[in-house]
């Protein structure tokens, strides 16, 4: 049902108590919300709880929903707030979660990326390996850098959408991404150095 319908149309149906439309929205965004919260909080079980809570809040807020903003940015604003609350509650940086993220079970086949797929398979393997090294580094970034970098580099969002979710100007998004990439560049250079030796 309604697979081709925009999020905002489905959400209008959810506001009219349509559980099937809600399930469709969940199916459409569950991976993005889970992936984002997992990288923010560093633990799969917690990320699953946060994802569930995030969608539950969507359901509970359905009566107040107004299509003045894109559904996706509203959804991720909720997810981000939950993740930040969780980090605040812990009063600690995200724990190492290499095992959680590097487990391929249930992981989506990554979307084709222009420029990469035309390369030799060995290059794709190397790129994926570098991606994992960068992904680990991403989770060790200060949270204001990390959340911007996750939304841009993993989820592929535009600067404008990121600014809406983070509630900050475009210039701030740019400077946070620059800060994140400065650190990631060091990791990439170290990784390439190791590959050469």
């Amino acid at each position: 049902m309604g697979n081709e319908l925009p999020d905002e149309t489905l959400m209008a149906r959810v506001a009219g108590e349509d559980v099937a439309a809600f399930d469709l929205l969940f199916q459409r965004h569950r991976r993005g919300v889970f992936s984002f919260t997992l990288r923010m909080v560093g633990n799969a079980a917690t990320a699953e709880d946060l994802t569930q809570e995030c969608f539950l809040r969507v359901w509970r807020a359905r009566a107040r929903w107004q299509a003045t903003a894109a559904f996706r940015t509203w959804l991720f604003t909720i997810a981000r707030r939950l993740a930040l609350d969780e980090l605040k509650r812990r009063q600690a940086a995200p724990v190492a979660l290499a095992a959680d993220l590097l487990d391929d079970d249930g992981a989506e086949a990554p979307a084709p990326v222009a420029g990469i797929d035309a390369r030799h398979p060995q290059e794709i393997v190397m790129a994926r390996e570098l991606g994992r090294a960068l992904d680990r580094a991403l989770r060790e970034l200060p949270e204001e850098y990390g959340e911007a970098a996750i939304l841009r580099d993993v989820e592929g969002w535009s600067y404008d959408e990121i600014a809406q979710v983070l509630g900050c100007p475009l210039g701030t998004v740019k400077s946070r991404l620059n800060g994140a990439r400065k650190r990631l560049q060091q990791v990439a250079r170290e990784w390439m150095g190791e590959k050469r030796t």
């Binding site: 108590e17 569930q52 009566a63 992981a107 990554p110 991404l177 990439r181 560049q185």
Partner: protein, 151 residues
């Protein structure tokens, strides 16, 4: 963006390289960066590294939550139930004077949201501000509207 020593001209280009690689620059700014890259090996290498990084990160796994979680979520949504009672509570506040009226609607299936906000009957005093809130609890949707009038 890197720790390299910047050559003349690079200092205004380097902070824009990330946005350049992301395709987030306006056409004139993009053109300026492209012209610089044609002559600057260091910035070109920097842009290539950034591009490689972003492409690599787009290849990382995006795991999905378990099917069990979906079932729990849907069960919770069903358990919370859909509102079958709609209660509209209206207050009009004029200084110390408060006028209140309410309407309760019950239905066998889910009650629809009010098509419009609760309507305040025409009164001679103009409204200075109004406040409307919708909440749901225990299968009841309550709409509270308060109108403040000039004293």
């Amino acid at each position: 963006m890197s720790e390299r020593a910047l050559a003349p001209g690079c200092e205004t280009v380097e902070p824009e390289l990330g946005a350049f690689v992301d395709g987030e620059l306006a056409p004139d700014e993009r053109g300026r960066i492209e012209r610089h890259l044609e002559t600057c090996n260091a910035c070109r290498a920097e842009a290539a590294l950034l591009r490689m990084m972003t492409e690599s990160l787009r290849l990382v796994e995006r795991p999905e939550p378990s099917e069990g979680m979906r079932q729990r979520l849907l069960a919770q949504v069903q358990a919370e139930g859909t509102p079958r009672t709609l209660e509209v509570v209206c207050h009009e506040r004029h200084g110390q004077e408060i006028r209140e009226w309410r309407e309760v609607r019950r239905a066998r299936s889910a009650v629809a949201r009010p098509a419009t906000e609760p309507e305040r009957p025409a009164r001679p005093r103009p409204i200075t501000r109004q406040w409307i809130q919708t909440t749901e609890r225990g299968g009841c949707r309550q709409v509270v509207a308060v109108w403040y009038t000039e004293s």
